[in-house]
């Protein structure tokens, strides 16, 4: 898709490298099918990308996730009306799980940048 010299840049959530099996399972529940940054680098390399750079933005992700959780609590009544009780509760539970994963160090969020030669 990219022209030669073109660049791809994206933020995504990853599972921390080198986790013990039980921690990896827990991360898989929070974010199924998530790669580690090393796996992501490997995929980019095998797709022919070069000059691969990763920047950790986990701290900002944690701030945003917590702010979303708290803002959703403040607007709970209105959000339940539009999303429905089940969906609202599921989203809040996902956010709690994600924050737990961040506190335990099993999840991270990164910016990946890579170039097509």
């Amino acid at each position: 898709m990219l022209k030669p010299g073109g660049c791809i840049a994206y933020y995504n959530i990853f599972v921390t490298e080198g986790l013990p099996e039980d921690a990896r399972r827990q991360a898989g529940k929070v974010r199924p099918g998530t790669y580690t940054p090393a796996q992501q680098r490997g995929l980019l390399r095998s797709a022919g990308f070069t000059r691969i750079r990763e920047t950790d933005v986990t701290a900002e992700f944690e701030r945003v996730q917590r702010a979303l959780y708290e803002a959703a609590r403040r607007h709970e009544r209105a959000l339940r009306r539009t999303q429905g009780d089940e969906r609202f509760e599921q989203r809040q539970a996902d956010r709690r799980e994600s924050l737990r994963g961040l506190a335990e160090g099993v999840l991270r969020r990164s910016l990946f940048v890579a170039r097509r030669p």
Partner: protein, 141 residues
């Protein structure tokens, strides 16, 4: 992909289709304003400052062509196109997402002329090779 993962992905895609189909409610927009300080249809964890960093990293400018995969309501592709005046192509799977992104661009006419919208998965993109100067996505499944 394992059956359980495929089923989870299908469930989440159905939820996204419902979400994008109805658009953001007043309360959801209030949450976005409080958390991100913006009303841009933000549908990922990417903040406006992080979107600015994407635009800067990709050195986007008028005449260059950006592809945003999984653009949802248009975030961050429309924002970047507006800031840098580049051209942008936005794709996502739910029809409601693409309709909302197009409507958002239409409300800002100069932006509308530089943007194209397509319903497509990142796994099967309907574009020729060497079509884009840059590609972004943000917390896409």
């Amino acid at each position: 992909m394992a059956d359980a993962q495929r089923s989870d992905l299908a469930t989440r895609l159905n939820e996204f289709a419902a979400y994008y189909g109805r658009g953001k409610s007043r309360a959801e927009r209030a949450v976005e304003r409080e958390v991100f300080g913006a009303d841009e249809g933000i549908n990922s964890y990417t903040t406006p400052a992080q979107a600015d960093l994407l635009a800067e990293t990709l050195a986007l400018r008028p005449g260059l062509r950006l592809l945003d995969i999984g653009a949802g309501f248009g975030w961050p592709g429309l924002y970047i196109a507006r800031k840098t005046r580049c051209e942008a192509v936005l794709v996502d799977i739910p029809a409601g997402a693409i309709r909302s992104a197009a409507a958002r661009a239409y409300r800002r006419r100069p932006l509308w002329r530089r943007c194209t919208f397509a319903r497509a998965s990142g796994l099967h993109l309907p574009f020729r090779s060497r079509s884009f100067d840059a590609v972004v996505h943000s917390d896409v499944l």
